[in-house]
Symmetry: C6
Subunit: 76 residues, 6 copies
Amino acid sequence: MSDSWLPSLVTATPQEGFDLAVRLSRMGVKLTQPSDQVRDKLRAAYEQDSAQLIAISQVIAIHFQTIAAANNHWRS
Amino acid sequence: MSDSWLPSLVTATPQEGFDLAVRLSRMGVKLTQPSDQVRDKLRAAYEQDSAQLIAISQVIAIHFQTIAAANNHWRS
Amino acid sequence: MSDSWLPSLVTATPQEGFDLAVRLSRMGVKLTQPSDQVRDKLRAAYEQDSAQLIAISQVIAIHFQTIAAANNHWRS
Amino acid sequence: MSDSWLPSLVTATPQEGFDLAVRLSRMGVKLTQPSDQVRDKLRAAYEQDSAQLIAISQVIAIHFQTIAAANNHWRS
Amino acid sequence: MSDSWLPSLVTATPQEGFDLAVRLSRMGVKLTQPSDQVRDKLRAAYEQDSAQLIAISQVIAIHFQTIAAANNHWRS
Amino acid sequence: MSDSWLPSLVTATPQEGFDLAVRLSRMGVKLTQPSDQVRDKLRAAYEQDSAQLIAISQVIAIHFQTIAAANNHWRS
């Protein structure tokens, strides 16, 4: 975790920005629960649970809003 | 998922922007649970569950806020 | 649903903007659960459930924020 | 409900803005559940339920953010 | 509650802004449940409940966003 | 808690901004439940609970949005 994993919020396309939002949402979990083993076990459960999948989608939406602003919404 | 699915946040009308918000909210789920089969099974349950439908509506609202900003709120 | 239902985010007054926010919150549900019959059945339950009413109020609040920005907060 | 209840988002002070946020959060509930009788019954329950009180506080926070922006954060 | 408790959103430091966010999150609860006695009883429960503590932290985060904007993020 | 813990929202990199968002999300809990002992006990439970980990990730996302804005999204 001490490595550099977030050098910039700038992405070439909206889609790459969305992918970054997904990564940030997962990093928010990882920094609280650093064990890969525990997170893998939890994933087996929540990926079958629509309420939690929707909650994850919400976290992604918030991060995507931030990243979109950082990229001036990729307006040419 | 490696295909291009989000070339731009710009839409011609607010309504198309709302449709895009719906797609983004679903993509947030899909990138966490890529199996079409599992998502179809989950959908059968959550589309009968008002609490989850409201939660989905909230994710859409956040994405719509982002998209509206990207389009200068479609002000002429 | 193929009809035009959202031509603009501009409203004459804050109150009309709030009404539009209510409509958008419902449309977020409708686009996920298009059946009027199912939604009517769900409504009978959630309109007696304060937690879900509060959740709906939250979705409205997010949409109202977007609409208020689109209208420059109706400042004269 | 057909009466005018939201002529403006402008308030003289932050505190009046907060009071308006409280009113908007309640209006979001009222427009979904218009019956005073039902809402009074629900209130007796949720005002003893901290999770719902916190959820209400969150809706107020979102509306207060909107109102604060509408008032340029009351900066002189 | 009729007294003045929110004269301004401006604070000298980010930390004072965070403290104000905490106060606003509590005020959102207090304006819905004014009884000190009831709130004290509820507090005994939710301060042992991590889900509710996280929910409170979320309300604080929203208010802090508003307050940070009001202070131009305390940039010199 | 009377010590200074938040002198500025400015960080050198997005990653440091994310770390600060994590700290703010925890501080929101700490200011409500100041006992280290109680929080340690709660942590043992919530770090095994994916729903709460996702909720924490959401609080982090909101704070990160604020911090990113404070840093002009670290655009050079």
